[in-house]
Amino acid sequence: MKLNRENKLLIGLCTAAAILIAKLFSIQILDEEYKLDARNNSMVYTTIYPTRGIIHDRNGEILVGNKVAYDLMVTPREVEEFDTLALSRVLDVTPEFIKEKMAEYRRFRRKIGWQTVVMIKQMPQETYMKFAEVAYKFPGFRGQARSIREYPFNAGGNLLGYVSEVDAAFMKRHPDEYKAGDYAGKTGIEAAREKELRGEKGYNIWLRDSRNKIMSRYEGGAEDKEAVPGKDITTTIDAHLQHYGQELMNNKVGSLVAIEPSTGEILTMVSSPGIDVEMLADIGKHYGEISANPYKPMFNRAVQAPYPPGSVFKLVNALIGLEEEVVYPGTQYPCRMGYHFGRNKLGCHEHRSPINLEESIMMSCNAYYCYVLRDLLENPEYGSFDESMDRWNEYVKSFGFGRKLGSDFPSELGGFVPDSRYYNKVYGKGGWKATTVISLSIGQGELGCTPLHLANLCATIANRGYYHIPHIIKDSEHVEIDRKYKERNYTLVDTLHFPKVIKGMYRAVNSGFGSGGTASIAAVDGLDICGKTGTAQNPHGHDHSIFICFAPMDDPKIAVAAYVENGGFGATWAAPIASLLVEKYLNGEISDKRKYLETRVLEGDLMDRVKVK
């Protein structure tokens, strides 16, 4: 071929065509970006939020349900000039609010891009309806229905926990699972059971035109994904009992925990003061108020507060003493207003002397347990204090003390039971003896346990020697709980010894006033309540009032621990509260004879006594 001008021009023509085709090859085949852009252009994904699982109580009552609210969504890129005043009037906000928001979107327009952001959260239905009528005037704005939590019972605010929008930190912890605008359970059952409750999001794909008008479903909806609703959860809580417990604890600081001994199911768990369910539904609005409250309503005392167990702990020492054969039901010790050792004395209250084991529980004698603990620690069977101390520690821990019980409730506290290592560290090796740690005998000193631990102790005694790990979720249609909750956990104390202690607890309640029983006020005709009072010394103010009890004696249905901060003697507040709860649970109502007591408790206000920092 000659390279004449015709051919040169033809070569030029082919080159030009090749350039065009090469560029087309690059944008049509090599570059995926345009295909993505085309999808973004023409497709709108609308998220279908699943309805969150419903939380039932043990009897099928709904503790947490759902209701519909609307979020106002904005796609800032699609917003055109609009009448700020008109929009603000429809949405019932100030024009400044809208202007501020729009200015904010402008500032972050690079970051936002084509994304849709939430402008107003959880508008009530009426507001949304007003907006929907005029929505066409405001391109870029739309409402998105989503279900929010609803609480038919004012019961268990702390237990249930709240749901709120995920923040950046949360999304970082759960990569790929949550997107901005999603909600997740943050505390309580909502958090513990987030996986079951949240369900799976779905989406609709729509085709839109250049003016952002939705034209049709993409592929007739074939590519859409349905939302999968969250699974319902059944809790072990008895909604009515929980509510009643909250009423009893009203204006008192402390906890009230009730367990069904035969299963370990938590019937009631009150931490007072708690969070009102009204506030849970709209936690964002109330969060500041809640966290500013000096009584710390977010703090779930029932599982998070470390308290000394007080005289209730005598039961544990009695059982260990029996197992270790340092004390027998018939063993009698004298008490002359306390236990004297050297120049020191651990005081006791006025009661007859000498007394046996049963009576020591019934009258809550301090001296008796000083003898028991001393015999335990100075037991010649063990080579040293260290050994006997650690043996004691093992026994105590077998009751669940000093460690997390392993309940399905989040943020449970382990508490503390001292051992030889601890005392060696504090006093030096050989620098301590039985009398140094003598206050352990009456549940004081270094011991720390939560009200849940105490309730578990009560359930263990009611079961005559074993417990199920206390838990709050029951088996239900969709949810199966861990096997560990169905296993019996035996203590190191032989089951034969428990009835001896229970007799003492029975007598503490049912001996009648004047007999010396410490908990006569807790007696309910026909219920055979067995209980033990406790009074924890409090160097900062009034003593803490403690009571654990279970009933009926022969077929225990409920085991309760009540811990009332600054409540004074165990019999003053804790015993009435716990016994009222038991009576309510077993009888369904309070007998006329005890109405006065109920009234006293409901109206009692101890808040002034509680020192807040």
Binding site: R5, E6, L9, L10, G12, L13, C14, A16, A17, I19, L20, I21, K23, L24, F25, I27, Q28, I29, D31, E33, Y34, K35, D37, A38, R39, N41, S42, M43, L207, R208, D209, S210, R211, M215, S216
Partner: protein, 506 residues
Amino acid sequence: MRDLGGHRGRGLAKTIDWWLVACWFLMIMIGWANIYASIHSSEPSSIFDFDSRSGKQFIWMMTSLGLAGLILFVIPPRAYEGLSLFIYGFTILLLIAVIFLGIEVKGSRSWFAFGPVRFQPAEISKISTSLLLATVMSQLGYRIGRMKDFIITAAIILVPMMIIVLQSETGSALVYVGFIFMLYREGLSGWLIFMVGMAILLFILTLTATPYVALLVLVGVATLCIFLYSGRFKWWLLAVVPMIVLFAFLPSLMELLSEWVVGAEQMASISAALEAGEEVAMPFVMKIKPFYILLGCSILAMPFFAFQAFREGNRFTYLALLGFIGGILLVFSTDFLFNDVLQDHQRKRIEVLLGMKEDPSGVGYNVNQSKIAIGSGGFFGKGYLKGTQTTYGFVPEQSTDFIFCTVGEEWGFMGTSLLILMFVFLIWRIIHDAERSREAFTRIYGYCVACCIFMHLFINIGMTIGLMPVIGIPLPFISYGGSSMWAFTIMLFIFIALNRNERKYF
């Protein structure tokens, strides 16, 4: 009876270039189908709906068919040569008249409106210019190298071009640049095309890179030409290339130097102050611009080349030096050209094309959306009437200037490359026929047609895929529009008629 009336020549079937006719027919059908797809929405109407563009295009197609018949069978091909000056003059009048009598569409006055029918005289002027060029240049004794002939030829092209620029239709005027290829075929020095190309390159380099880079490229190209012409290519490689490489690093060297002299911190503070528009006393080192060093060196070198040219009697070197000076002036005046000669929207389009400014929602919107539509087509496309971008109107002007997007999205790379190849075939076939004609008139006219179609093709498709700035000219035979459909049909069929006329007898 065969061949009895010998003067009528051979019959239609044997004389018409059926390839061209088939190409034309296929293209207008493709165009029609794609126009229907462009206006197709989720509520489709019939392709024959005369309220819609596809229906109207059908009318234009039918009338074009009539015009084609008229040209083939009624108008004697000999008439064009004689009438060309008259036709040319008439179109020039129309072009001027439309500035005063036309309606304004998107900021330009280039349309006549007769009731519902609109008509753009710029489309016809391509034909009349081509005809007059063919007439003038086929005259016996015409030599493009002669100054008088060249000026006449240039005037024929430039007069309508200027008027169209006055109509603010710079895009359409740009098509006339394509005639340069025809002129090249007819003997115009290739250097002219080279110079035009260089000028464009310098313009772009000055805007996108720096004047320094543009100047350096200019120095390289000019010296290459001079050394190549005088057969000293080796010298150029050994002496000039190292120099240019050295100069390429000059700006960074200068920066290092001033940093060393002035100190980095002070430099940073001075440049910050300069950016803030404050007056600062600049150290001497910072005042020296590498651009002026290079400029000074090249100006100092010029007398040396001039002396050499004088000694060797080498006229080419003089011309190259002249071109070099012109280039320097262009680099200097680019700023002026860009900011003061070009109109606002044109400047923006060039800025977006050259990536100087990103503006996906403003001027860049069309191109961006167009690229998205084409790019999303993939290899096989989304299928006819199934393009999401097309159906939902994301690309503006999709049935007219951006019709190629529809092809790209719905027919994919297969469709786009096939369509381009079809155009290449059409242009090749025109050139092929033109080269084989015995009459210069037919050949020159044929090249004119080829050039016009090529320019439209390259600019239009280049625009839709971001190779060219947004210049609103239609894709021949494919885009919606009566004026362009008629104009290109007439243009092509005049060539087919001329070509057939020759074949009749030979």
